[in-house]
């Protein structure tokens, strides 16, 4: 039984899939940065960006429900911003009393809340687009091209490789635990044990996992040695990018730049 659903890459042949990973990584980060730079309340720009993201998602051929599902996962964090509606001073549009407290919702508060929410939602969809259309090893290669530290990229790669192995092992450990978590049927006995016992057992599972992973890493090291590893991290030189990719890079950059200028104008 495998946890292959951990891998976010969705196979496909869309133009997004075909674009060079270096371009996608750069544009993706630039897009998120642009979104972050746009001030609150510029709804037309937000909707423009949303429409853009939506179109890209359609072009990718991955299916909109995929993006919807994954992007709503991070939504709960917006709850931290919710109180702002009531704490930012301004013209009130809604008041209510709860016990001894008076709550007054202000328009500036609502604007801020909605702006953060929308911008965050846009950003997360770009990240999902990136990983859905780019196999992770390609993202690693792109990172190296963008001058990320080689040691770090190598650690990422090893981590990725063994992620699934350990996720599988963890699933099996959890199943073994579940299989032994029964109720006696005797109403006198309280099922479950104490919280602290459960926490420590969970720790035992984690410890088991860690020991096995550390021992596995010792075996991996031997395998690397056997193939000539001497501590230095070497990799193949990267290929040149085709013309169409430069075009996409330039085009995307231009669009984002114009969005920025527009946001500048609209906020004055």
């Amino acid at each position: 039984m495998h946890i292959h659903f951990l891998d976010p890459y969705q196979i496909g042949g869309s133009v997004l899939h075909q674009t060079d990973a270096r371009v996608k990584l750069t544009l993706g980060l630039a897009f998120i940065l642009t979104t972050a730079l746009i001030p609150d309340g510029l709804w037309r720009l937000y909707f423009l960006l949303l429409a853009l993201v939506l179109s890209l998602e359609i072009i990718s051929g991955v299916g909109l429900d995929y993006f919807l599902k994954r992007s709503t996962l991070a939504l709960p964090f917006i709850l931290a911003v919710f109180p702002l509606i009531f704490t930012i001073p301004g013209v009130s549009f809604f008041t209510f009393t709860f016990g001894p407290w008076d709550f007054s919702a202000s328009i500036p508060g609502l604007v801020r809340f909605a702006s953060i929410g929308l911008k965050s939602w846009i950003s997360i969809q770009i990240a999902i687009l990136l990983t859905a259309t780019t196999p992770f090893p390609d993202i690693l290669t792109a990172m190296r091209a963008l001058r990320f530290p080689r040691l770090l990229v190598m650690i990422f790669g090893l981590m990725w490789r063994y992620l699934f192995v350990f996720a599988d092992e963890t699933m099996r450990l959890l199943r073994a635990r579940a299989a032994r978590s029964g109720a006696s049927g005797n109403p006198e006995f309280q099922t479950g044990g104490s919280i602290s016992w459960r926490a420590r057992t969970a720790g035992g599972l984690a410890g088991n996992l860690f020991v096995r992973s550390l021992e596995r890493s010792e075996r991996i090291y031997l395998a690397m040695l056997a193939r000539g590893y001497d501590g230095e991290i070497r990799s193949l030189p990267q290929g040149k990018m085709e013309g169409s990719n430069w075009f996409i890079l330039g085009f995307g950059g231009l669009v984002l730049f114009l969005v920025l200028i527009l946001s500048l104008i609209m906020s004055i």
């Binding site: 001030p39 953060i116 969970a202 035992g204 996992l209 114009l258």
Partner: protein, 318 residues
Amino acid sequence: MLLSAEALHIPDGFLSITVLFLAWIISISVVGYALRRVGKDLGEQQVPMMGVLAAAIFAGQMINFAVAGGTSGHLMGAALATILMGPWAAILVMTSVVSIQALIFQDGGLLVLGANIFNMAVVGVSVAYMVYRLFLKITGDTRKGILVSGFSAGWFSIMLAALSVALQLVVSGTSPARLAIPAMAGVHALIGIGEGLITVGALAFLLSARPDLIHPDQSNLDGSRSVLVLGFLLTVALLLAAPLASVRPDGLEWVAMQTGFIEMTREPLYELVPDYLVPGIANESIATILAGALGILIIFGLGMGIAYNRRKGQISGR
């Protein structure tokens, strides 16, 4: 939302550019230094170990235990990583965990990754290290001492990481101090207990199965002192700033306003210099033209994208 360790992974859009910038600078410096340290004094064997341990921590975060009424607690892992591999390697391991979580699972944003790395890899690890060493000195290098120190390291790493997150949110104007700080602190005081207990459970297993892995850290004593100091400073800073901010939010704002800081953090950076950069552009018609141009460009680009897809479909005979 606040009831899981996921509350520590901040998504994109929640922090102001200034806060992000600062966080990135610090994270890059610390991680960069860690890379050089690890490259230099720890052996080459540490590379597979770090990658694999990062994967194990990631998988380990899937291990949960029922707390109450459907909620569950689980692991962050900074304390365990620190105890197992020493602070510098642990910083790299946690950086990897946090980065992959953001990249692949959108657990935390990409732009705010600098802040998340700061909170979990830098604060989490340095505080865990400091607490662990401190408590170990007090309790002694016995099995009990290691377990107690491990618990404390786990608890403190979660608490201070949470405080760091709360302060970043507050300074960015994303969450009100009066609520965010006590809420984060309160909730994570509980979650921290869970982290501490899991850390203890894991250490207990390790002490039985592979006690050699839990060395009391005679190696790399030299530069690790700086992590101790860093941990101490961060702890003091966060523990001072947080209560101050929540109890006297006006106090924090007053100080910030005096230095003009708050203006910087609340608005996007470039709005500080609108006039000399774009003279005379505050013009409705120019805006419309630009918007139009932008629209045309986008439609053109999307059209090409769709056409490309269509053509690929025809060639592959779908």
